[in-house]
């Protein structure tokens, strides 16, 4: 590859990082600047949060179920089947519920935001909004960001609950375990740091999903083909960023709350 191309590529990547940083900064700063579009926040909360409940419920329940199924068989070899509840609840609450919920919501909403805003961009609706005196960042981006952060937090709690319940269902029905013992084990295993860890992650994931989805949407060029490209990029980049952020946050949490 010629030197010029590497140079151009590096500049373009740096420019994209700079643009995204400014974009995030503006979206966050708009939380403290009038006007606030609260009705749009509620509408987006309904679309992003309530609309994602079915996939989050199904994912959470069956993931908890699979965990119980796999762990019960392995734990039984050591006579420790009674620890199934502990295993499921710790795995779900610390790791799987936030990450899987993030990935599900990312697939559904980051792409949705990118395609919606991208269509508006290529049909000049964003320019029309600016021409009518409305700031598209305040009207379109900040409400989506706020809604995603709040709703992902709540959806993760739903997933935590359904995952534990799914594990209980499998443990009781398929492994003939005692339900009370399962829930007691699940409850006793949890400590404050587990809850903090599990509920801090969705806040960061919410920012990632909404800001990447909106960024790719707002920067769309190239007609309908460009909208498709933005949608795909938004889903891919936000999914990768969620996994990466999960690793970083887990490392930081282990440092802040060292294992007993």
């Amino acid at each position: 590859m010629p030197i010029e191309s590497l140079d151009t590529l590096a500049k373009r990547m740096l420019f994209a990082v700079q643009e995204f940083t400014l974009f995030c900064g503006e979206a966050l700063a708009n939380l403290f600047r009038a006007p606030h579009y609260w009705s749009d926040v509620v509408t987006q909360a309904d679309l992003i949060g309530v609309g994602s409940i079915p996939i989050v419920v199904l994912t959470g329940f069956f993931t908890g179920g699979v965990l119980a199924l796999q762990s019960a068989a392995s734990l039984a070899q050591f006579g420790a089947q009674a620890y199934t509840g502990r295993f499921v609840s710790l795995s779900m609450i610390r790791e799987l519920a936030p990450v899987l919920t993030g990935l599900m919501v990312s697939g559904r909403n980051a792409g949705g935001m990118a395609s919606e805003l991208g269509s508006m961009q290529v049909t000049e609706q964003i320019d029309a909004m600016r021409a009518l005196g409305t700031d598209p960042m305040k009207k379109l981006v900040t409400p989506r960001m706020l809604s995603t952060v709040v709703m992902l937090f709540l959806l993760t709690i739903v997933s935590d609950t359904l995952g534990t319940a799914g594990g209980a269902f499998v443990a009781v029905v398929f492994s003939a375990q005692n339900g009370t013992q399962y829930f007691d084990s699940a409850y006793q295993a949890l400590v404050f740091s587990d809850i903090i860890q599990g509920l801090t992650k969705p806040i960061f994931f919410g920012f990632i999903i909404s800001l990447i989805g909106c960024y790719y949407g707002m920067k769309t060029t190239g007609g309908t083909q460009g909208v498709g490209r933005s949608t795909t990029q938004a889903v891919v980049v936000s999914s990768i960023m969620i996994i990466l952020m999960d690793f970083l946050l887990s490392r930081i949490m282990l440092w802040v709350f060292p294992p007993m």
Binding site: P35, M120, T123, E124, Q125, D127, A128, M129, R130, A131, L132, G133, T134, D135
Partner: protein, 278 residues
């Protein structure tokens, strides 16, 4: 929100330019050859300027620069006497509420009804619902589309969408109108309807405007017709006369090659203009 720029516009009314819009040596390039090179012109109060030029020459770019939707690489742009070249976006947003813009493909918000599209600016200002309803109906009556009040843009024809876009642009009585190819892609009958609406807006409300088109027929219709309030329609001006407030600009290869009256345009000896008008 809308009152601030009005006050500022009054304060700067004594600006030497004393024009609604001033372009001073404006240049712009994207990735490639320059789109605009040292373009200068003015739009005075009550004046309608028609910007002509071949497709892809940068006419829409001029409109977006005029409204601050794009920024020039060099040169200065004054809107209502205020320099907008480096004006922060939040100040520009307030200033833009004094202008109305009709986009090439209408750019209606496809998830909102015609009522919400037309009344968008009023809803943003949180005016009472009854007032919004009344003014939306009045604007739709002006473009003769009152029956589309509850419809979605997707169920309208191209010409109807363009008329709704005009209603949206004029509902707040703008002090300056920008039309981007308002008849582009429409059939001749619908184009005539749009032309008549623009002439009506020009002659009834005396709103200054910058209109982009590549259709010569529409441009000359505007220069040679007037709105007759008694007849309630557009009538031709006496033979050989043109509207003195309607003048022309011609853009070619990024440069402004003509700035003058209808008579000056048709009698120009410029080889490109002769070929363009032929």
């Amino acid at each position: 929100m809308a009152t601030t720029p009005q006050v500022e516009a009054q304060e700067t009314a004594e600006h030497p330019a004393h024009s609604v819009l001033v372009f001073e040596d404006v240049s712009l390039r994207f990735n490639g050859p320059p789109v605009l090179e040292k373009v200068s012109f003015k739009v005075k109060p009550a004046e309608t300027r028609i910007l002509l030029g071949p497709a892809g020459v940068g006419k829409s770019v001029v409109l977006k620069l005029a409204n601050g939707l794009l920024r020039p690489d060099s040169g200065r742009i004054f809107l209502f006497g205020q320099e907008i070249t480096k004006m922060p976006e939040h100040k520009l947003l307030a200033l833009r509420t004094l202008t109305g813009m009709v986009f090439q493909e209408s750019a209606l918000f496809d998830s909102l009804t015609v009522r919400d599209n037309v009344g968008y600016q009023l809803m943003e200002r949180h005016l009472p619902v009854d007032e919004i309803d009344g003014r939306v109906r009045e604007a739709l009556r002006f473009v003769e589309l009152e029956h589309t009040y509850d419809m979605l843009p997707a169920s309208l024809s191209g010409g109807m969408r363009r008329r709704v876009a005009i209603a949206r642009a004029i509902i707040d009585q703008p002090q300056f109108l920008l039309y981007d190819s308002p008849t582009g892609g429409l059939d001749p009958v619908t184009s005539t309807t749009i032309d008549e609406l623009i002439i009506k807006e020009r002659d009834v409300y005396k709103t200054p405007a910058l209109l982009v088109t590549h259709r010569l027929q529409d441009a000359f219709t505007m220069a040679t017709h007037r709105f007759d309030t008694e007849k309630g329609g557009v009538v031709p001006l006496p033979h050989g006369t043109t509207n003195p407030e309607t003048t022309f600009l011609v853009l070619h290869e990024g440069k402004l090659i003509f700035d003058g009256s209808t008579e000056g345009l048709v009698t120009s000896a410029d080889p490109f203009l002769k070929e363009f008008l032929a």
